[in-house]
């Protein structure tokens, strides 16, 4: 009885407690609803629009120093804040920018004289002249993290006149003019960089470009037109460049109208396709630049099984680029049959063979495979690059369809940093990579893949070919490659063709696709335009009247 009573008391007491809560809940719910309403009302879109233009990309910028910058985003920003001696137009024509005319090259090809413009000011008001250009070039050669791009070509920088620059070269170099369009060689104000001659200045930039930097943070930069710019003033009232860390956020920001212009450097394939469709439907504008990024496969040629060139050629024939282009990018990554992008000299030939499963089978048979003996080949792709993964999956399925009795691909996803670290150690039998030359010239594509300083037969022991993970070279290749940088005009084209044909025969690299830079803008803006270096012309962004 006692127990029952006790239990009954507890239950009734608890019920009264719950009844109390219920009573007060009536007041709590409307209060919560009112609070939520307040927050949502406060959060609704404010009027953001101004006559400034917001440009989004995935490029977090850690350094604005031309001697240090290497990421796409940093170089894109520097191209708006500074000028180079020469610029390449979208049509591939070399035009003077800070230079007053095209360079004069001595008969022996070892002295290059560049006349400079006399009406250029830095953003700090100081004058641009030969001393300023020499200061910037010497600084880059001294501390530039990418100074190996220039290599040992420039032996001295001289200033014979206030507005004349002279470069002494160790050897004649036909790629030098295009090298002088590289954003890393953008001049900086000697006065502003007085204390940074031998170290980087990461969060400021004093150049000569159409914009000056008024606010810098790694994730957001504010640019204002430079009123005393020597060339045409920007067509807009100013720019805000913002960084968003992933493709979905970039895509969403463009779709919702939160940003005015979007750069394509880190957009996933499906979202790139969706933006492309929106542009075809007239809901956005799409601009394209020259395709300067190549996607290619590197084959390890110094160890079995791929040390057999017949097998490498069979692999090159087995790749159906049209199918991959269609499946991976719905036609947005055109097939590539050369190591040099088509817009550059020497890039209009197609030395690599097209897909031919029958010929590939014959070569596999010749190498002792098929008819019961299958080559199991590990194929590595960068796991943090969605397009590479799709490419690997598609090629694997296509091989299964065409050559299942001869070849089987075993896919292996590895993070980029690890891939690049282990590439030169010969860790990958076959690996999918991409490459963008530091400047728009065939030299910047062929030398980093094929150059070899020390070889033994067709094995490269030391040099770029070893660093690239192929370890492949051929007799006479290095000489022809060097010759292609010495010769000019048709002679150069012939040399470049020879290099490419040798590389295609060796098949240590298989070009896969081309990546075209794209930018999308809202319909309130004109179509974005690119220069010949694949950089968006930010100063030309403008509203449509």
């Amino acid at each position: 009885m006692a127990s029952s009573d006790s239990s009954g008391v507890i239950n009734s007491s608890r019920m009264s407690g719950l009844a109390y809560l219920r009573r007060h809940l009536k007041h709590l719910l409307p209060l919560t609803a009112a609070l939520a309403l307040c927050v949502s009302q406060g959060a609704c879109q404010p009027g953001r629009r101004s006559d400034r233009i917001t440009v989004a990309s995935a490029g977090r910028i850690t350094s604005l120093d031309p001697a240090q910058a290497s990421t796409f985003g940093a170089l894109q920003l520097l191209s708006a804040l500074g000028d180079t001696l020469y610029k390449r137009t979208a049509q591939g024509e070399l035009k003077p920018a800070l230079a007053a005319a095209l360079p004069e090259i001595s008969d022996d090809g070892r002295t290059v004289t560049i006349p400079l413009r006399k009406d250029v000011l830095f953003h700090d008001g100081t004058r641009f002249d030969a001393e300023a250009m020499a200061f910037s070039l010497r600084r880059f050669l001294e501390i530039g993290t990418l100074n190996y791009v220039v290599g040992d070509r420039i032996t001295a920088v001289e200033t014979p006149d206030t507005y004349q620059l002279r470069l002494r070269l160790s050897r004649p170099s036909s790629s030098l003019e295009n090298l002088l369009t590289a954003t890393n060689l953008t001049p900086v104000s000697p006065k502003a960089y007085e204390d940074h001659q031998d170290r980087f200045l990461n969060d400021r930039f004093i150049g000569t470009g159409p914009y000056r930097l008024t606010s810098f943070r790694a994730v957001q930069q504010r640019l204002e037109p430079f009123k005393r710019y020597w060339g045409p003033l920007p067509s807009n009232a100013g720019l805000d460049l913002i960084y968003l860390s992933n493709s979905t956020a970039l895509f969403g920001a463009m779709r919702s109208g939160e940003v005015d212009v979007l750069l394509s450097d880190s957009i996933d394939e499906d979202q790139r396709l969706a933006l492309n469709r929106m542009a075809s439907e007239g809901r956005l504008r799409e601009g394209q630049g020259p395709a300067l990024v190549i996607g290619y496969i590197t084959l390890l040629s110094n160890t079995p099984p791929l040390q057999n060139p017949v097998l490498r050629q069979a692999l090159a024939l087995s790749l159906d680029r049209d199918l991959i282009n269609e499946r991976v990018s719905r036609g947005l990554r055109p097939p590539l049959l050369s190591l040099v992008p088509p817009g550059l000299p020497g890039g209009n030939i197609e030395p690599w063979p097209r897909h031919d499963a029958a010929r590939a089978r014959n070569l596999f048979i010749q190498a002792g495979y098929c008819n019961g003996r299958v080559l199991h080949l590990p194929f590595t792709y960068r796991s943090n690059v969605p397009a590479d993964r799709l490419m690997a999956l598609t090629w694997q399925a296509q091989i299964k369809r065409d050559l299942a009795d001869c070849l089987s691909l075993k896919l292996d996803g590895v993070e980029s940093t690890t891939v690049y670290r282990q590439l030169g150690e010969g860790a990958f039998q076959a690996v999918m990579l991409d490459w963008r030359g530091a400047y728009p010239d065939p030299e910047a594509y062929l030398a980093p893949l094929l150059s070899c300083r020390e070889s033994e037969g067709s094995v490269c022991k030391r040099g770029e070919a070893a660093i690239s993970g192929s370890f492949w070279t051929a007799p006479g290749l290095e000489q022809t490659l060097l010759q292609s940088d010495r010769s000019r005009g048709d002679d150069r084209l012939r040399d470049l063709e020879s290099v490419e044909r040798m590389a295609a025969a060796g098949a240590a690299y298989i070009p896969v696709w081309l990546v075209t830079p794209r930018a999308w803008s809202s319909t309130a803006l004109a179509t974005p335009e690119f220069d010949g270096n694949g950089q968006l012309l930010l100063a030309r962004l403008q509203g449509v009247r």
């Binding site: 404010p46 850690t62 968003l244 956020a249």
Partner: protein, 339 residues
């Protein structure tokens, strides 16, 4: 021994152990980074840089020294409060942390408030409708929010509220084109202090989506904790005793049942804050929130050893401090706690 002396001794022990814990963590991070494949020199120069250039940079960064020497240099600098410079751009690590930490703290604290308010409200509602449909919904809410993958929810929230409805920004911390108020780096506080209401509105708009997403995902823990503990408290003898003394129901709940039910919730809040400081990575990545977790992820990808080491040590120090503070608070509030 008196309770206050006991508490003092406990505090002293915890604080004395903190440097040992930090040393262990710093050592572990140092070793793990060196074991991981990838070379910071490649990240700076690119894999195609000539060996001579790589060797020169390696020497400049001190990476050519023996591992033991690198470790000793790292520890020596650490005890002197020097976290070093980023390999990528030679920016002081302390400055990187100073810039990124306020963003993470702002997000974490707001998310915690959202989590606590929502979680406790749902838990309170559920207990009020105990054993009914609302209670069941509360249980589902508690388990569901905890079980949902954060990146998936974050992307859905982003697509719905930013892309489709256009109510809130997709990502970032501050509106483009607006000048950020100078000050501590806590944008909301800085905007209020400087009286810049437009900046405040911009900062709040950017904070709503990530903070609510993170807060709602964490709120289930609070819901479950409150529901279970309040339920237990309402059934306990001391509540009965309080009622038998003639106290009103408001007094019984507010003075007796709720404080006891909230003690475990306080511990959970402490653990949550500690884990949030470095653990909101997926939210920061999805919403491009420029906090310390996003910076940590980028630095790991770049094998930027000093930045990773510095961030981990600072996060560890904060976690230790927060957990000690919570333990002390619980001990102060709950006389039953003994050490």
């Amino acid at each position: 021994m008196g309770r206050s002396r006991e508490l003092l001794r406990y505090t002293g022990t915890r604080l004395a152990l903190a440097p040992v814990m930090l040393w262990l963590i710093a050592t572990l991070v140092f070793l793990l980074l060196r074991v991981a494949p990838g070379d910071p020199v490649d990240a700076v120069l690119g894999s195609r840089a000539p060996e001579a250039a790589k060797a020169a940079l390696r020497a400049r960064l001190g990476l050519d020294q023996s591992l033991v020497q690198q470790y000793l240099d790292f520890l020596w600098a650490l005890v002197h409060g020097d976290l070093g410079e980023a390999l990528i751009n030679q920016e002081p690590v302390s400055r990187i942390i100073r810039e990124a930490l306020p963003a993470s703290l702002e997000l974490s604290v707001t998310a915690l408030i959202v989590a606590a308010v929502t979680g406790l409200a749902v838990g309170f509602t559920a207990i009020a409708r105990s054993e009914g449909k609302i209670d069941l919904a509360g249980r589902f809410y508690g388990i569901g929010t905890y079980a949902l993958p954060p990146f998936w929810v974050a992307m859905l929230a982003q697509l719905l509220f930013a892309v489709t409805l256009g109510w809130l920004p997709v990502g970032g911390r501050f509106p483009p084109g607006m000048i950020t108020p100078d000050g501590s780096g806590f944008l909301i506080a800085d905007s209020v202090i400087s009286g810049n209401w437009e900046a405040l509105q911009g900062a709040l708009r950017h904070l709503v989506l990530p903070a609510c997403t993170l807060g709602l995902l964490l709120s289930g823990v609070f819901t479950n904790a409150l529901r279970l503990n309040l339920n237990r408290s309402l059934r306990s003898d001391y509540v009965e005793a309080a009622r038998s003394r003639g106290l009103s129901e408001t007094q019984v709940i507010l003075r007796h049942a709720l404080p006891n039910a909230l003690l475990p919730v306080l511990t959970i809040a402490g653990i949550t804050v500690a884990s949030l400081i470095g653990g909101a990575l997926l939210i920061e990545v999805t919403f491009s929130w420029p906090g310390i977790a996003l910076r940590l992820q980028e630095s790991i990808n770049q094998r930027d050893y000093p930045v990773v080491q510095g961030i981990v040590v600072v996060i560890a120090a904060l976690v230790v401090l927060v957990s000690v503070a919570v333990d002390l608070l619980v001990a102060l509030l709950d006389p039953r706690v003994r050490y």
